[in-house]
């Protein structure tokens, strides 16, 4: 049952991470990010008790809320998508498929190295890392960079939970997730500024 649930979480992560690459509306991006953390939570349940695993989802949702609330208060003019963002959806789907193929290829060997974390957990985390890196590679937009970094880190946290169960590490990683969201918000506000400091 739990293995089936884990594969459902992997499917959810595929949908959300590919969705994050495709959608252009920031509301959808934040929603998909929040849903992605549910998938991560389910994967973490394979390795950690529910109390520890819920730290990830709570920190992730708080981070998504911070980003969403900041973005909602800013005008759309200054934060329009940059021209360098590859516009073709077909291109992004193609790149995502490439990541999926690579992940499928390396999962067995990585799973062996990572203390047999389980195929579902390894696949899910590698997908998150791959999609996050792809995201970082094709954008310089602050919100997207923050979401990309959070995706990479959440993938790493998932796979790292197979080998590290320390409360301190879980707490510090949660602090880093929240810190990243705060820094992303700070940079979003700065991006929207006019460039003149008050006297």
């Amino acid at each position: 049952m739990t293995v089936t649930l884990a594969w459902i979480a992997v499917a959810l992560i595929i949908i959300t991470s590919v969705g994050l690459l495709l959608v252009r509306d920031w509301r959808w991006s934040i929603t998909l990010l929040a849903i992605q953390y549910i998938g991560i939570f389910v994967l973490m349940l394979q390795l950690w008790p529910i109390g520890m695993a819920s730290v990830k989802v709570v920190a992730g949702w708080m981070a998504a809320a911070i980003l969403g609330m900041t973005r909602s208060g800013l005008s759309d003019e200054n934060l329009a998508e940059e021209n360098t963002w590859p516009r073709g959806r077909l291109f992004r789907v193609f790149a995502a498929v490439m990541v999926l193929i690579i992940v499928a290829g390396v999962t067995p060997s990585v799973d062996t190295i990572m203390a047999d974390a389980g195929f579902a957990v390894t696949t899910g985390s590698l997908l998150l890392i791959g999609m996050g890196l792809l995201h970082l590679g094709i954008t310089a937009h602050i919100l997207r960079v923050t979401i990309g970094l959070m995706t990479v880190l959440s993938g790493f946290e998932t796979i790292y939970s197979a080998v590290e169960g320390s409360v301190l590490v879980a707490a510090l990683l949660a602090v880093i997730t929240l810190g990243l969201a705060l820094v992303g918000s700070y940079l979003l506000i700065a991006s929207n500024s006019t460039g003149t400091e008050p006297a």
Binding site: N78, I113, I129, L136, A140, I142, V145, L149, V152, L153, F156, Y160, V163, E164, S166, V167, L168, V169, A171, L172, L173, V175, I176, G179, L180, L182, V183, Y186, L187, I189, A190, S191, N192, S193, T194, G195, T196, E197, P198
Partner: protein
Amino acid sequence: MNAPTIWIVAPLAFAIVLLFITNQRSLGILGGVFAVSLAAIAQFVPIEEAVQVGTVSLKIDSSLTVLGRILLIPPEEGPLLALIYGSGSLWFFGAEASRTATRIVPFGLMITALMVASIAVEPFLYAALFIEMAILIAIPLLTSIYRPPGRGVVRFLIYQTLAMPFILLAGWLLAGVEASPGDLALAAQSTAMLGMGFAFLLAIFPLYNWVPLLMEETSPFIVGFLLWILPTITIIFGAGFLDRYSWLHSSPQIVIALRSAGLLMVVSGGLWAAFQRHLGRIMAYGSIVETGFSLIALSLDPKLGIPILFLLIPARALGLAVWSLSLTVIKENVETMRFGAAQGMLRITPLAGAGMVIAALSTSAFPLLAGFPARLALWESLARVSISGALWMGIGIIGLLTSVFRSLAVISMAEEYTTWELRESPTQVFMLGLGVIGLFALGLFPQTVQYFLSNLPAMFERLGR
């Protein structure tokens, strides 16, 4: 009372209080005096030894337990703390002159405390988490909320953040290698992970493109602080890896990789600097060369390399402090720091111009300046193991020297009959004057710093003994 509370928790708490102070002078003095006090306590009050003060007996414990893990500052690390906080005070005292005190003093103190925590945490591989927190705090230090961030800040955030997963995973894999030393595949995987992590953290070629970008976008004084503290502590953290896993340092491949990476940084940084037409970018490449020197020192026989590594630190701190303060003063008086705009600046900011040139010469191993003794020792030691390596190091230094003489030519190239029009404030003149004197003093009397440095190698159990 315990050491982590004094050198980690107290600075963090004090930095939060400083966030509410807006007076530049007060902030500079408070931050500087606090950092100097911490350095003095670290140097003169022994850890784990009872000290009699009147009728009271005081003892500083070395450890603090947090959530089942330990922050540990053993007695051997006292001089290192003195060096870190003493060097940090250079930036805090200079903050008023650079008019960045409201940002650099509180955030700088927080970053320093977190970097000290990264050295203190046990198991030591958790250091990556503290370094990442310091990186996150560096973002509001680098950017103003009233100005859109540049590409350099975003790249800095991405590259430094990507380092953390690599280091944490490498730490776990290295533990596996210890358990089964015969597993060569696992050893190769863990080394590759470690290499990637440090390549991101130390901005090793080709991952250093954010450094010149930051120097163009942000206050040189703030970037100078980050270019000092982040690589310095990261190198010590890296040396800790080599110390704990002796097979890493005894592996000839690792030694060659360290030396090659160091030389690549020295050569590429020196040559790129020679062709730059922006004063800030030249400093960026100068700091890249400095990191290269540290990597070369790590690749040498530890008996020689580790003392040289520590000898590089004070010169780097003072050199970057003077260089970055000089550039900040110059930047105040020109539109951009491009050569075209900075022509003849020596007539407007003579001491800043001189400070920039002398600090750059110090980085370029110019005799009688602070950087010279460490670089001479490094060059000599490198030549003993690799003549070609020493030659490449020389090429990098020549590149850097070329950039210094080009900068000097540009800032002294004023129109004929241009009058002297000094625009440096008394505080700036005082701080720059002190810094330049310090660069000469460290170059002429290098043995003075030995008082602080002589016991530092003992902090490494295997490398330093």
